[in-house]
Symmetry: C2
Subunit: 334 residues, 2 copies
């Protein structure tokens, strides 16, 4: 097992990334490799107590920034932490790269450098959405803007494998994002996809409406990447907007301030319940190696959890299962 | 001016609908017609004090229920309040129908009974989304699941007319829902639509991401009806989920209960700020007559506001302006 962590990606790199790596090797029985500018990573590491033999550094002299054009950056910045990490994942059999860096570059690099699992039409980004009923997996969250029904079927298969193997949900429920729950609802894509999912051996529960997502009506939320991105960003934006506005409203009066003080722990409980960092990052499912996109604003705790997720991903042989499940369906006949 | 109100539609009909009509005639200098089962409406009306000459009843013996199949119901239930109302809107020059009933039936009926404004490819449902920065208009919220770029251009034109004439925003900003703000982002539909909007005389501000919707980054949120429905239902579901969960969390401890008591007015302020009922209902823009879909759970206050909105819609000659703006663009050349 090889665990590679991009030391240079994300808003809080390298400080929180390196700290997360130290937390991980101190808690889990693993070793890992941080990829980044040697001196910077080494200096950060020197702040902590840990078993030195458990963390290795691989030097990478370039950094792909958030405003770099993804495909171009992957082609040109050959010595960036992302590209070096991807080459290592490609060249090692049982390896995962965890990065909080440029999402587009990770998606482009996943395709260009690591490549797809045989039979997979399009890999898909699959973040966890915390719900009242536990974690749901959103697939695809933005890797594929225009999709075909058989791609969505594959998303559902990959998502089911992931939820079963990594999150531990038996026979996970698959729901198709639609504008109504009746089977004849939706656009051309969802109508065709409905039939494919209905005819599959997945635990397909039918169409779901987005208003029910927060209640955890399904374990896997299947949609094209445009719709998934719209959902993901709206959940992020609206949740943070509501909580900030409430806070502002509370703190504008003395009575409100007193109330807010009394509610501090309630509010914290609520926020913790829906904390994305609890579940690590979003796997890019369908690439021929482990690739996990941690949130750009990940702190050490989120990075540690993404590493735990990476370990489970490899231990559970997620890609082997995806490959087996995909082989069962001859998509050329669909 | 003819204002027709469907007395039988919505979760709170006829009680709240009739009450809303009474509030409206007592507050505004208008008369109106309620369509519904005569005895039921008359009995409700008898509860209130108002100028009897201002409210007329037109009898309709059938009711289209929420679980009726929309197109079928429009064809078969010829004496339903919705169909009777639509025929009246079609046959009167300056008329609007307000209904809290079956959305699908209102959309189907709008097309089948009232018909489109000349030149409009597809009418679109356009609810108001309350934001930190005032009201934004979401168009299309679900009338058209598969769209073409020129339809989205027309949505933007209709939305601009509505926001200017009815909400009173000069040169309203038009934003295109996308998965990134850069101009080359998105799917086939948004890439093409971007070019059309860029080349139009609208106040196009470019692509917007859904995370920014709650902050009111644009006055008009343009998207296909599938995406719009996903957005609308997610906003409804997530907002109500967060507020309910917070409340539950607060009331689970004594400290929390005390805090909640102190925060009562803050929470109410917050909820009021984002109260959909403030803005009435969603106009179905592009049909050749006024048609306003009020929320299914509308109370009397929301119905009164939807009536005020209907008055403004007619006074401001929204459809005449839409017709004029649409004529300026020869869509056969796009």
């Amino acid at each position: 097992m090889k665990i590679y962590v991009d030391g240079m990606g994300g808003d809080n790199s390298p400080v929180e990334i390196v700290k997360g790596c130290v937390l991980a090797v101190n808690e889990y029985d693993i070793g890992l490799t941080i990829i980044g500018t040697y001196e910077i990573i080494e200096k950060e590491l020197s702040k902590y107590k840990y078993n030195k033999s458990k963390i290795e550094i691989i030097n990478a002299t370039e950094i792909i920034k958030n405003d770099d054009e993804p495909a171009l950056a992957i082609k040109r910045k050959k010595d960036s932490s992302i590209v070096v990490g991807m080459n290592l994942v490609r060249d090692n059999n049982n390896a995962v790269l965890i990065s909080a860096g440029n999402t587009g570059a990770l998606l482009a690099g996943g395709l260009l450098k690591i490549g797809r699992i045989k039979g997979i039409l399009r890999p898909a980004l699959a973040p966890i959405i915390p719900t009242k009923n536990g974690p749901s997996l959103l697939i695809d969250a933005g890797a594929n803007t225009d999709c075909k029904p058989k791609q969505l079927l594959q998303f559902a298969i990959m998502g089911s494998v992931y939820m079963e193997k990594v999150i531990g949900i038996e026979a996970p429920r698959v729901g198709l994002v639609n504008i109504g729950t009746e089977k004849n609802k939706g656009n051309d894509l969802t109508k065709e996809t409905f039939k494919l999912l209905k005819g599959s051996n997945l635990n397909f529960i039918g169409n779901i409406e987005t208003r029910d997502i927060p209640y955890g009506v399904t374990d896997i939320i299947v949609c094209d990447g445009f719709t998934g991105n719209v959902i993901l960003k709206l959940i992020e934006g609206l949740s943070s907007f509501i909580l900030h506005s409430l806070k502002e409203n509370m703190l504008s009066t003395t009575k409100g301030k007193m109330g807010a003080l009394l509610l501090k722990s309630s509010l914290k409980n609520f926020k913790d319940q829906f904390d994305y960092s609890e579940h690590g990052g979003a796997p890019f499912l369908g690439v021929n190696g482990g690739l996990i996109k941690a949130h750009g604003s990940s702190n050490a705790y989120a990075i540690k959890n993404a590493i735990r997720q990476g370990i489970k991903y490899l231990n559970q042989e997620v890609n082997k299962s995806i490959s087996e499940e995909i082989k069962k369906i001859d998509i050329s006949e669909i």
